[in-house]
């Protein structure tokens, strides 16, 4: 079983870090093979930026996206640029603080205002990506929350780890239904 | 857009690739004011590779955006083929002082009548923040994570030691001075070298100075610029202004010219 995720946003949102965290959770602390790639180059200066993660229970040969399963969009322009190959019934996870405009054809949309959550409930806008990481873990099921937390510990300095755990939990435990996000 | 930009910049290349608040942009701004004074028809531009080397690409003129480190060598050929033109080279502390050092000192030795403008932002910006011969001792960069164990060049001393006849330094925080100094440099008959200390918020800012706000870095440049002659310098300070100007040493002339003069 091969699962393909793409996370897109703008430079500075920590999009690549999400990719890195997922890759570690899956490959280093989880049970499957994983490959993480990223767009690199001029795009990295402002503008849209993205990372792609392929997860599989067998060894991954082709590393790039073939059939996109999940798109995570953290900004409107990023969504517009990178939604093209997501099928209408593909899984779409958005930060609805910043992504407002989703064509109707998508039938499988989940919304979580990670930027708002980070700013308001956690007091640090920078952890929005970790909130999203939690949400992705939950929605995609590619890694256990334990593996995800190990990935967080491996990535961030000890002094900020608690805050990140909290952010992760807020995403992981987010109630999409309660928020009426499942369209 | 500013009407000077309108007139002198290549619209299809804008916005510049420079990050927000990059000092290189201010130098571009100051440069086109110099060009405006003199007349763009007089110029040809050459650069190397690096953020700084993108500068002339945005100018609506004939430009060679050459290889990393080779801008001055390319300019040497161009000058000999087009002696009637003013050749201005833009490059960075990496391009000019690291990989390109040999061409710098030889053009200086020859006293070739070109102008080299080196944007020293203390770092390799383009490749993501590695140490350069402009990085201060102790400066943390991606390839000096424990602090730079090397000493930087004093580019002005180096250029003078190599034989340059017009040597100046300014900062990106003083655009009017840049325009003036560039005007003098271009007018000088012989090799002119202008080092412009420039802020790089994205790489040098974050890594070396621990500050990402352009204005903070801009203030650091201002604080470190010492234009008063003979003033004592702290380790981070540098002299600015025209620091060496020798009008007596004759500029490079081809053998052809010399033979003609003799005949």
């Amino acid at each position: 079983m091969r699962k393909e995720l793409r996370i897109a946003g703008f430079g500075g949102q920590g999009v690549i870090t999400i990719g890195l965290l997922i890759a570690k959770a899956v490959g280093q602390y989880g049970e499957q093979d994983v490959v993480q790639t990223q767009s690199y180059g001029p795009e990295a200066r402002g503008g849209a930026c993205k990372t792609e993660i392929v997860v599989s229970d067998s060894t991954i040969d082709y590393i790039k996206v073939l059939n996109l399963d999940t798109l995570v969009a953290m900004s409107q322009p990023a969504f517009n640029t990178y939604c093209k190959d997501l099928p209408a019934d593909g899984e779409l996870l958005i930060d609805d603080t910043l992504v407002k405009d989703i064509p109707e054809k998508y039938t499988n949309v989940r919304k979580i205002p990670v930027t708002a959550i980070a700013e308001k409930e956690l007091g640090f806008r920078v952890v929005a990506n970790v909130v999203m990481f939690g949400a992705i873990a939950k929605v995609s099921g590619v890694a256990t929350p334990e593996a995800c937390k190990q990935a967080l510990e491996d990535t961030f300095p000890a002094k900020v780890i608690k805050k990140n755990f909290k952010a992760f939990d807020m995403g992981y435990n987010y109630d999409f239904n309660a928020a009426g996000a499942l369209s | 857009m500013n009407p000077l930009a309108e007139k002198y910049l290549r619209k299809e290349a804008l916005p510049t690739i420079f990050c927000p608040g990059c000092g290189h942009g201010s130098v571009l701004n100051a440069t086109i004011r110099m060009i405006d004074k003199i007349g763009i028809e007089d110029f040809l531009f050459v650069s190397g590779i690096g953020c700084s080397s993108w500068l002339p690409v945005f100018i609506k003129a004939d430009v060679i955006h050459s290889l990393h480190g080779r801008s001055i060598a390319v300019a040497t050929g161009l000058k000999l083929a087009r002696p009637e033109k003013k050749i201005v080279v833009f490059n960075g502390d990496g391009d000019c002082l690291a990989i390109g050092g040999n061409h710098l000192i030889h053009a200086a030795r020859r006293n070739l009548d070109i102008t080299v403008v080196t944007l020293n932002n203390y770092i390799y910006g383009m490749t993501g923040g590695q140490m350069s011969p402009g990085t201060p001792t102790g400066g943390k960069t991606k390839t000096s994570p424990y602090g730079n164990n090397e000493k930087p060049f004093d580019a002005v001393t180096l250029a003078i030691g190599a034989g340059a006849t017009f040597v100046a330094r300014e900062t990106a925080a003083s655009p009017v001075k840049i325009t003036k100094t560039l005007t003098k440099a271009v007018a000088h008959n012989g090799f002119s070298f202008v080092e412009v200390m420039s802020q790089c918020p994205t790489q040098a800012g974050r890594n070396i100075f621990g500050k990402a706000a352009p204005s903070d870095l801009f203030n650091i440049l201002k604080e470190n610029a010492v234009s008063k002659k003979g003033a004592e310098l702290t380790s981070s300070q540098f002299r600015t202004g025209v620091l060496h100007h020798d009008e007596k040493k004759t500029a490079f002339r081809t053998v052809n010219e010399l033979l003609k003069t003799e005949a």
Binding site: - | L14, P15, T16, P20, G25, S26, R33, A213, P214, N219
Partner: protein
């Protein structure tokens, strides 16, 4: 006269830093690229041109009668 081409601005705020008259302040409005464009307060602007000269993206145009030079 002070003019800004908002879409050229990258929100670096260097113009704000050089304006000695505090005629510029951090903006709230984002341009098409998402940058916050500074706000200009015409009545205290003395058309000194510093912002025009420093802007790395040449977004600002200051027009005035007589040229004056940088002091710093």
């Amino acid at each position: 006269m002070w003019k800004i081409d908002k879409d050229q601005c990258k929100g670096c705020e260097l113009c704000i830093a050089v304006c000695k008259n505090e005629a510029l302040k951090p903006g709230k409005e984002r341009n098409s690229k998402g940058y916050l464009v500074p706000e200009h307060i015409s009545k205290i602007c003395i058309s000194c041109m510093m912002c025009d000269l420093i802007c790395p993206d040449m977004a600002i145009t200051v027009t005035r009668e007589k040229e004056k030079c940088e002091k710093s």
